[in-house]
């Protein structure tokens, strides 16, 4: 498994999203910023970046077990885990399966397979932009509405034609040999859609403190509210005017939002839950 560790202090582990790599945490400055105060480990998920590609093993509990094995390898007893998008499924599954090793988890705009029905494409402002542009790349709206196995696979396959939007490679193709191998030689495109035990009922069993950070105009925004309701130890923060990739667009707002949680996860969540109504949702980005 390919990883990098920087800084000194309590352990924080960063988990990137589907088809991304640990470079995501470079582009968002999260690795550099957090390593001033913490020992931060970023790694490539199985089959991604420089980590070994296997045909199967891409369900969130498999990847949570990989994370536990990485902590063993590093000699780390307990860590706070930050996961973006599908990386948040890995982080929450880690919190469910290894509560004694999870000091807390930050869930960044994760859709969660079990909460797919909460996704709101029509009321997502970004969809207004994308639904006119995606057909140019062979992706039509009906694929999103269906969102079945064939639909998701087609979206992933067609999405390779959309140029890279962020970072030094923007404007170039997504269609790299590495991306092709992941898509064509592994079960990832079906595995990531499988709740694999992380059902809505099981959310009540997740005891470590959780901070759910979602974009105000993300299609997954409603998931934040549901997590805050169902998880026994969770607060939610909504980043104003931001979509799914707020980490790339507003990294400094994200860092301000998570800093007090990372310092004292349990105390932070308790404060948020006592200070607000039952849902413990803060609108406005920066917590008091």
């Amino acid at each position: 498994m390919h990883y990098q560790t920087k800084g000194v202090g309590a352990d924080v582990v960063l988990v990137h999203g589907l088809t991304s790599t640990l470079a995501f945490w470079y582009n968002t400055r999260v690795l550099a910023t957090l390593s001033a105060d913490y020992r931060v480990t970023a790694y490539d998920l199985r089959g991604h970046g420089y980590s070994t590609l296997t045909p199967t093993g891409y369900k969130s509990p498999d990847l949570a077990a990989d994370l536990a094995a990485l902590l063993d390898h590093l000699g780390v007893e307990r860590a706070t885990v930050i996961g973006h998008s599908f990386g948040g499924s890995v982080a929450l599954h880690f919190a469910l399966l290894y509560p004694e090793r999870c000091a807390g988890a930050v869930i960044c705009d994760t859709g969660f397979a079990a909460l797919r029905y909460l996704r709101n494409i029509d009321q997502w402002p970004g969809w207004e932009i994308w639904k006119n542009e995606l057909p140019e790349y062979g992706i039509t709206p009906d694929w999103f509405y269906r969102a079945d196995e064939a639909g998701i696979k087609t979206i992933l396959e067609k999405s390779v034609n959309i140029p890279v939007q962020f970072g030094l490679r923007r404007g170039t193709t997504r269609d790299t040999p590495r991306f092709r191998r992941l898509l064509e030689e592994t079960s990832v495109s079906t595995d990531f859609r499988d709740p694999a035990g992380l059902t809505e009922d099981r959310l009540a069993d997740i005891t470590p403190p959780i901070l759910a950070v979602y974009g105000e105009i993300s299609p997954f925004r409603n998931v934040a509210l549901r997590l805050a309701e169902r998880l026994p130890n969770c607060a939610a923060q909504i980043i104003p005017a931001m979509g799914h990739f707020f980490l790339l667009h507003a990294p400094e707002v994200f860092m301000e939002t998570v800093a007090p949680f990372l310092r004292e996860p349990d105390a932070y969540v308790a404060r948020q839950r006592n200070g607000t109504a039952s849902t413990a949702v803060q609108e406005g980005g920066t917590p008091g």
Binding site: A23, Y26, N27, Y50
Partner: protein, 99 residues
Amino acid sequence: MAVDRSRARQNLMTILTELREDWEYPGEINDSTGIFRDLQFESIDAVALGSAIEDHYNQSLPFAEFLMKANERKATDITIGELVDFLMLHLRDAPGATS
């Protein structure tokens, strides 16, 4: 002892070749060759290059900062020349730096 530019460049080429064993680039590589546009690097390859450079010279370098600054000034590539400049600026006078 100052770091020699041609030596730094030569070391960089060795590191690049070792990093990508299956690498085939038909053109001539010069200072204006871009790692993303010409050598088809992905972001993760640039991250791995930074680690490989640090390993080679056995010293910590602000490579992440270098990548982020390039991104923030809206650069769309990093050239071999810029990488050599980076090495010339940051390599300290260590045994590994001049060999």
